[in-house]
C-alpha cells in the first residue's frame, strides 16, 4: 500500500468529510478533514489501520486564512507512510475536538498546542496547562504570529511550585531538581511505602527555550540547523538532519548521494558515542563506576575523531539545507576504521564480561518492566520500544539518508526490562560500527551539497524523521515567506518515552527508580514538562498552579 492508496481508503470510509487529499510521493499522505470528523478519522487510523500517533501541532494561520491549523501526525510503520491530518478551526471559536479519549498518546501534545497556540481541545480528560511557566499570563499564546519572540511578561511573585502531599501512609523521597539522572534539571518526588514505590510527582519544564518560535520568526532556513542541533546536547546531529530533510522534501531539493552517506556516517558515529555515554551513565546510576570510567575512556578517541572530521567534538555543524558542509576525505578513512576497530574489540570484552557479573544482572534483570502493550499504547520509540518487543526503527521503516542502501538490522528483545533495553543498545553499537564500515566502502564520489538557485516557495510542507539513539526524532516544516519556515514542529524521542516511565516504576524498589528512569536514556532538555503521576493507576494528571496552591487535588 502506498500513500495514495491509504488516502483512498480513508476517502472511501469518510466521503466528503475529507476536504483535501494529496500524496507527497509514496510515503507521505496529507489529509485535510472537517473538524467534526476529526475524532472518527483519528480513531480509524489508530485503531483500524494500526497507525502510531506521533505528535500534534498547531499553526496560527490567521493572516493567510483567518484560521488556526491543527495537525495530527500518524505513522504507519509497516507500510512506511507518514500521515499528516489537518483540520482548520475558526478564529472566533478556537476549539477542536480532543482525540485523547480514543488515542491516549495524544494527551501531552494536545495540551501543549493549547498552551502555545490557544486552541482548546474540547473533551480532553485533563484540559490544563502543561508547557508554559507557572507565572506565564493566561491569555498570551507564544506561538501566535503577533506575539514577538522576545516577549518577556513580568514575573509574578509567589508562584513557586507547591509540593504535593504523598498518599496516606507514604513517605516522600525527592530526586532532583538538579541532576536526577542525567545532568539536567528535572524534579521527581517519589512516594514510597517502605521500599516500594507507590506514586510519583514530577516537575519539569525548567528549560523551555522557545526554539520553535525562533525558527519561525527570527532565523532563516540555513540558520535553523544550528539551533536545531542545540536542542540536544548529546545527539544534536539527528535534529539538524531531521530538520534539513523536512525542508528538502518540502522544497523538492535532492541531496547528492555522497552527502547522504556522510550524514549516515555522522549519525552512526553519534549513535555509538551516545550509546557508550549511556552505558557509562547507567553504570554510574547503579553505583558501578568502573563501567563509567572505562566506557567513557573508550568513547574519547571517537570524540576526537569527530573533532577531526567536523571541527568540533560534539556539535558537528555539518548540516545545511541541501547537504553537508564538510567532506570525509579519503585520508581520514583509515583513522575512522582504526578507531572503530579499537572500540569494537574493547566492546566485545565488555560484552563478554557483563552476563557473568551478578551485581549488574541483579540490578538490570526484571526491573523496570514495560509490557509490550503498554509501550505500544504510550507510543514508545527507539530502544525503549525495541526492548519491549516492538519492532520499530525509523532507519528501516522510513528510510532516509543512505539507509536504504545499507544493511540495518532491527534489534528487538522481548524481556521488557532494563536488561532488554541495555542489550538493544549493546547490539546496536556493534551494528553501527558495521554500518559505518559499509558506508565508507560504498560511498560514491561527487558533490556533497545540492545547488539551490531558487528560493523555497511558501506553503509547502513535509515531514523529516531520524532514528536517534533514543528513538524517533520527528520534525515537520511548513514553508513560509521571508526565507524561513512558517511553522517548524519538533518532537524529541523522550517526549514519547517519558510517558512510559510511570508503569515502569510501579512496584519497583526505591533503589531501582534511577535506573528505571535512566533506562529510557532520557533527554529532559528536549522534553521538559510538568505532570503528576499516579503510579498505582498509571494515570497521568497535570495540575494548574491555582489547584496546587489551593490543594484541590
Amino acid at each position: 500500500m502506498n500513500a495514495q492508496q491509504l488516502g483512498d481508503s480513508v476517502k472511501q470510509q469518510f466521503g466528503d468529510k475529507v476536504v483535501e487529499l494529496s500524496a507527497l510521493g509514496p510515503n507521505q499522505l496529507c489529509l485535510t478533514i472537517t473538524p467534526d470528523s476529526l475524532v472518527s478519522v483519528a480513531e480509524y487510523l489508530n485503531k483500524d489501520l494500526g497507525c502510531r500517533f506521533v505528535i500534534n501541532s498547531g499553526t496560527d494561520r490567521r493572516r493567510q486564512r483567518g484560521k488556526f491549523l491543527i495537525t495530527h501526525f500518524f505513522a504507519h510503520d509497516e507500510e512506511k507512510i507518514y500521515i499528516t491530518l489537518h483540520t482548520e478551526v475558526g478564529e472566533d471559536q478556537p476549539e477542536v475536538d480532543s482525540i485523547t479519549p480514543s488515542v491516549p498518546a495524544a494527551n501531552w501534545s494536545e495540551r501543549e498546542t493549547r498552551d502555545m497556540v490557544g486552541v482548546v481541545p474540547v473533551g480532553h480528560p485533563d484540559p490544563r496547562r502543561l508547557v508554559v511557566a507557572d507565572d506565564w499570563p493566561e491569555d498570551v499564546f507564544p506561538l501566535r504570529w503577533d506575539v514577538p519572540h522576545d516577549l518577556k511578561p513580568p514575573p509574578a511573585e509567589g508562584v513557586a511550585m507547591p509540593l504535593l502531599d504523598p498518599p496516606e501512609g507514604a513517605s516522600v523521597v525527592p530526586i532532583g531538581p538538579y541532576f536526577p539522572v542525567l545532568e539536567e534539571p528535572e524534579y521527581f518526588r517519589v512516594f514510597v511505602e517502605g521500599e516500594e514505590v507507590v506514586g510519583a510527582d514530577y516537575r519539569g519544564f525548567y528549560n523551555h527555550r522557545g526554539i520553535e518560535k525562533l525558527g519561525s520568526s527570527a532565523l532563516t532556513y540555513n540558520q535553523v540547523p544550528f539551533i536545531a542541533e542545540r536542542i540536544c546536547g548529546i545527539c544534536g546531529f539527528v535534529h539538524s538532519c531531521s530538520y534539513c530533510q523536512a525542508v528538502e522534501r518540502a522544497a523538492g531539493i535532492e541531496v547528492p548521494p555522497r552527502g547522504e552517506y556522510i550524514r549516515t556516517i555522522m549519525l552512526e558515529l553519534e549513535r555509538i558515542h551516545s550509546h557508550l555515554l549511556w552505558l557509562g551513565i547507567a553504570g554510574h546510576i547503579i553505583g558501578f563506576d568502573t563501567i563509567l570510567m572505562q566506557v567513557w575512556r573508550m568513547r574519547e578517541p571517537l570524540m576526537w575523531l569527530c573533532e577531526r572530521i567536523s571541527g568540533n567534538r560534539k556539535t558537528y555543524g555539518m548540516n545545511l539545507v541541501g547537504g553537508v558542509r564538510r567532506d570525509i576525505e579519503p585520508e581520514i578513512h583509515d583513522d575512522v576504521r582504526r578507531v572503530l576497530t579499537d572500540i569494537e574489540r574493547q566492546w566485545q570484552e565488555l560484552y563478554n564480561a557483563i552476563p557473568g557479573d551478578t551485581t549488574l544482572m541483579a540490578r538490570l534483570q526484571g526491573t523496570g518492566i514495560l509490557p509490550t502493550e503498554v509501550a505500544r499504547a504510550r507510543g514508545a520509540v527507539g530502544p525503549t520500544a525495541r526492548g519491549s518487543g516492538l519492532p520499530i526503527d525509523v532507519r528501516v521503516d522510513h528510510p532516509y539518508a543512505a539507509y536504504d542502501r545499507l544493511d540495518v538490522k532491527k534489534r528487538v528483545y522481548d524481556g521488557c526490562d532494563n536488561l532488554a533495553r541495555t542489550l538493544v543498545r549493546l547490539d546496536e553499537t556493534l551494528d553501527s560500527i558495521n554500518i559505518i564500515r559499509q558506508a565508507l566502502r560504498e560511498m560514491p564520489e561527487g558533490e556533497i551539497m545540492a545547488q539551490i538557485d531558487e528560493e523555497i516557495p511558501a506553503g509547502q510542507q513535509a515531514v523529516g524523521s531520524v532514528e536517534a539513539p533514543r528513538g524517533e526524532v520527528f520534525h515537520w516544516v511548513l514553508t513560509g515567506p521571508e526565507n524561513r519556515p512558517e511553522r517548524w514542529r519538533v518532537r524529541a524521542p523522550t517526549y514519547a518515552n517519558l510517558q512510559s516511565v510511570p508503569p515502569m516504576l510501579q512496584g519497583d524498589a526505591l533503589a531501582d527508580v534511577p535506573i528505571d528512569i535512566g533506562s529510557i536514556d532520557p533527554c529532559f532538555a528536549c522534553t521538559d514538562r510538568m505532570e503528576v503521576v499516579d503510579v498505582s493507576s498509571g494515570q497521568v494528571r497535570v495540575y494548574t498552579q491555582d489547584e496546587l496552591l489551593n490543594k484541590k487535588y
Binding site: D150, K152, A218, L219, T220, Y221, N222, Q223, V224, P225, F226, I227, R230, T290, M293, Q294, R297, E300, W304, E307, R308, I309, G311, N312, T315, G317, L320, V321, G322, R325, R326, Q346, E349, L350, N352, A353, I354, P355, G356, D357, T358, M449, Q451, I452, D453, E454, E455, I456, N483
Partner: protein
C-alpha cells in the same frame, strides 16, 4: 562471577594511564578545528554576508555614515559554526585553533569591532555571492541592525 570480574580488571588495566596533563601541557585540537574566528580588517570589504548567515546573530553591521561601515562582533554569542568564514568573498575570516577564550575582563573583552571605509559603496549587496538562494542578503542598502549588545539585560547601551 570471578571470571567476569577478572575480565573487567583486564579491561581496566590494559590501557594504562590515559589522562592528559592538560592544561599544564598544551593539547592542540586536530584537523580543521573551528575555534576563534579571526577577522582580517584589511581584507574586509563590508559586504555584510557574514552577518546575514550568522545563526547566532553575533555580527552586527552598522552604517555610521556614507563613508564608514562598522562591523561589530559579539563573540560571547558566537557558536563557532564557521559559516561567516565559509561565505566571506574575500576570505577575510579564518577559523583559528584558539579555544581558550575565557576572560576576566568582562563582556567588553568579547566584543570585536572593525570599521571599513565605504565612501564609493552604493550598498547594492552585489559583492556578496551567496552560496545558495537560502543565504541571500536579507537587508541590502544602508544597515543599522537592531541587535543590542547581549540582549535586554545587558549593561551596554544599544549602539
Amino acid at each position: 562471577m570471578i571470571t567476569s570480574k577478572l575480565r573487567e580488571a583486564i579491561l581496566c588495566l590494559r590501557p594504562g594511564r590515559v589522562t592528559l596533563k592538560y592544561p599544564f601541557e598544551p593539547h592542540d585540537p586536530e584537523g580543521d578545528f573551528r575555534g576563534y574566528p579571526e577577522l582580517d580588517a584589511d581584507k574586509c570589504i563590508g559586504c555584510g554576508g557574514c552577518a546575514t548567515v550568522c545563526p547566532a546573530r553575533a555580527i552586527m553591521i552598522q552604517d555610521i555614515d556614507q563613508n564608514t561601515r562598522r562591523i561589530v562582533r559579539f563573540l560571547e554569542r558566537c557558536i563557532y559554526c564557521g559559516r561567516c568564514a565559509d561565505v566571506c568573498p574575500e576570505d577575510a575570516i579564518t577559523m583559528t585553533k584558539r579555544f581558550e577564550l575565557s576572560t576576566d575582563q568582562g563582556r567588553e573583552d568579547m566584543v570585536a569591532e572593525c570599521e571599513v571605509f565605504m565612501a564609493t559603496c552604493q550598498r547594492c549587496g552585489q559583492c556578496y555571492k551567496p552560496p545558495s538562494a537560502l543565504d541571500k542578503i536579507m537587508e541590502p542598502g544602508f544597515r543599522d541592525d537592531k541587535l543590542k549588545r547581549g540582549g535586554d539585560d545587558s549593561p551596554y547601551e544599544p549602539i
